[in-house]
């Protein structure tokens, strides 16, 4: 690449960092401040009882908020911020005691307190580190405007009427000094803006990452996800056993029986034998259909034959809703990861079709080599309002992805659109 191309690339990165910083600063401050106030109020109101109901909901929001920042950090700068929330046990109680139970579990999780601390940091230091890159790009514009004549608005040239940074503006001369300062700032922004925004995410990582003393927490997460994985696969095997037992196996028995009867009837009553033959053939066709559906539920054939990308495309073609699939995978992931990702997408798509009322869905599957992340986004134009609550299909997906240290982020404001983002660390072969 030649020097000017390199310069353009750097300038583009600086501009992008400025724009991203501005968005992060505004959205981040508003979100973190609101969530912090809500959390504190909610926790205080536990004494009155109301807080028991609101706290789990608010803390879930905080987690989604933090997860969004995790996704953005990985997407923009390849900074991985681990999520180490303790999963709820599978038998978490529902009904009246449900919220109390969840409230207790969440408040007992050190990750919750780290989240709250991060909200404080995010609205102060986080705000500043996000705003700085934007300011370095935007503030120089004022300096140039002053030099170009804007200074006349503030002073008639006899007194100091305005300050640009540390430069007192009292006339055209000092306005030129302001322009010089603006240039210096712009140069600084050109070189530093992306790095400054990185600092924002590194700060978030520093606050959100468990200390090494919390290795125990990680062990607990692993124990839990492993138990989930074992439970899930045991339940799957049980289901497959039952399906085979009541389905294909029973049909084959019936077929064998029919064939026996046909043997006895073929000379005495050929008409009846023919009827039974047709029935046996029908049984075998039904057994095949059942086996095919079962196989699809265990490991879809397209996934085995073509890998994740084409399997998702084939899945999309079966949906009653127009679905655009965009795949960018330079290789294939390991079979267990492919399978988990496929069933996660399948579940999300089923949810979208069933509950969102969407008439269009977009699926984006890609792998980022730099961060070693498989990232899948499913967006629909439905009515929104999906959440990762106990008992929803989404929490099942979260559990399934957890086995692979994958994370799930859901953005689904009332009125839509819904966007479900999944990330699984993995290498492609």
């Amino acid at each position: 690449m030649d020097a000017s191309g390199k310069g353009r690339g750097r300038a583009r990165r600086a501009l992008v960092a400025g724009a991203r910083g501005l968005v992060l600063a505004v959205v981040g401050l508003a979100g973190s401040l609101t969530l912090f106030v809500l959390s504190v109020l909610s926790i205080v109101f536990i004494v009155l009882g109301v807080g028991v109901l609101t706290t789990p909901a608010v803390l879930s929001l905080v987690r989604s908020w933090a997860n969004w920042r995790r996704v953005v950090a990985a997407e923009w700068y390849g900074i991985r911020i681990p999520a180490a929330y303790r999963p709820f046990p599978a038998d978490v109680r529902t009904g009246v005691v449900g919220p109390a139970e969840r409230c207790r579990l969440m408040l007992g999780d050190p990750a919750t307190w780290r989240d709250l601390l991060w909200l404080l940091v995010d609205m102060t230091a986080g705000f500043v580190t996000a705003l700085l890159p934007a300011a370095l790009i935007v503030y120089p514009l004022e300096g140039y405007a002053l030099a170009a004549g804007l200074w006349r608005v503030f002073t008639d040239g006899t007194h100091v009427g305005w300050w640009y940074g540390f430069v007192p503006i009292s006339g055209q001369g000092s306005a030129f000094q302001a322009a010089a300062l603006a240039t210096a700032l712009l140069v600084a922004g050109y070189f530093l803006a992306p790095a400054l925004l990185r600092v924002h995410f590194l700060l978030a990582r520093a606050v959100l990452t468990p200390e090494s003393g919390e290795l125990a927490a990680r062990v607990q997460v692993l124990t839990q996800t492993r138990r989930d994985a074992v439970d899930t696969s045991a339940a799957e095997l049980r289901r497959i056993e039952r399906d085979l037992h009541d389905g294909a196996q029973a049909r084959l028995v019936a077929m064998g029986m029919d064939l026996g009867t046909i043997e006895a009837l073929v000379e005495k009553n050929p008409q009846k034998a023919k009827e039974l033959l047709a029935q046996a053939r029908k049984s075998s066709a039904e057994a095949l259909t059942e086996l095919r559906d079962l196989v699809r539920g265990i490991h879809p054939p397209v996934l085995a034959e073509r890998g994740l990308g084409d399997a998702v495309k084939a899945l999309a073609l079966r949906l009653p809703v127009t679905t655009d699939v965009d795949v960018d995978l330079p290789g294939r992931a390991e079979a267990p990861v492919e399978s988990a990702a496929y069933f996660a997408v399948s579940e999300v798509l089923t949810n979208a079709v069933k509950h969102s009322g969407a008439d269009r869905v977009w699926v984006d599957v890609h792998h980022t080599g730099a961060t070693g992340m498989l990232r899948i986004a499913v967006t629909d134009n439905g009515k929104g309002g999906a959440s990762v609550g106990a008992g929803s299909g989404l929490s099942g997906i979260e559990r399934r992805l957890g086995t692979f240290d994958g994370i799930l982020a859901v953005s689904s404001p009332a009125g839509g659109p819904t966007m479900v983002t999944m990330e699984i660390p993995c290498a492609l072969s």
Partner: protein
């Protein structure tokens, strides 16, 4: 009629050879892997190939890929693809070159020897044989998105059979009506869907499938 057969499971391969020979086909090669299939297709120049999607050594969609490669080398080479599952994704790839002479059926269809052999003959003659499941998926999806131009239930039936690649005579036989009645139905269907009328049976089928598959 000279047939090359590729199927890795011995029982099925043996059964297919016996069935085809019973119907006076000449099975010139019955192979069990992708490389063997490629070699047989190149050297024996069969009238039709019957190919299982999944073949060794990779046990992926090797059969399908071999068949597609052979068709690129020899456009219009009739290929009937068999599979344990049908996917619109694969059907679309098979039909993509628009040359005809393509079949894509579930393995279950061999249960009905007459119909299966009919499909092989149709494909060998440059026609189309699409599995009813593929067509049903296409139809139900298409119908969920936009109504099909006010077709009557009978016309829907005819459309479905036509999209599978059946000739007017075969459709008439199945629905127990005269061939002239079917001809009337088909011209109505083409009028309502706004498709160009063609004398060529196969062009007609491909046009219908393309119509059903559009808008994705």
């Amino acid at each position: 009629m000279r047939v090359v057969l590729a199927e890795d499971l011995f029982l099925l391969r043996d059964g297919l050879v016996r069935m085809l020979e019973a119907y006076d086909f000449d099975v010139v090669a019955a192979v069990e892997s992708g490389p063997e299939l490629t070699k047989a297709l190149a050297e024996l120049e069969p009238d039709v190939a019957v190919v299982d999607v999944r073949l060794p050594p990779s046990h992926t969609d090797e059969g399908l890929q071999c068949a597609l490669a052979a068709r690129r080398a020899r456009p219009g080479l009739p290929v009937l693809v068999l599979s344990q599952h049908v996917e619109q994704l694969y059907a679309r790839e098979l039909l993509a070159d628009g040359n005809g002479g393509i079949g894509y059926l579930l393995k279950d269809r061999v249960f009905d020897a007459d119909q299966f052999v009919d499909a092989v003959r149709r494909v060998a003659a440059g026609g189309t044989a699409m599995d009813p499941q593929v067509i049903q998926q296409l139809l139900s999806r298409r119908a969920a998105q936009a109504p099909l131009g006010g077709l009557t239930p009978r016309e829907m039936e005819v459309l479905e059979l036509m999209a599978q690649g059946r000739s007017n005579a075969a459709i008439a036989g199945q629905l127990v009506v005269t061939e002239r009645a079917i001809a009337k139905h088909t011209s109505n269907i083409f009028l309502k869907l706004g498709l160009p009328v063609s004398d060529d049976d196969n062009r007609r089928v491909l046009a219908v499938i393309a119509y059903l598959d559009q808008g994705r």
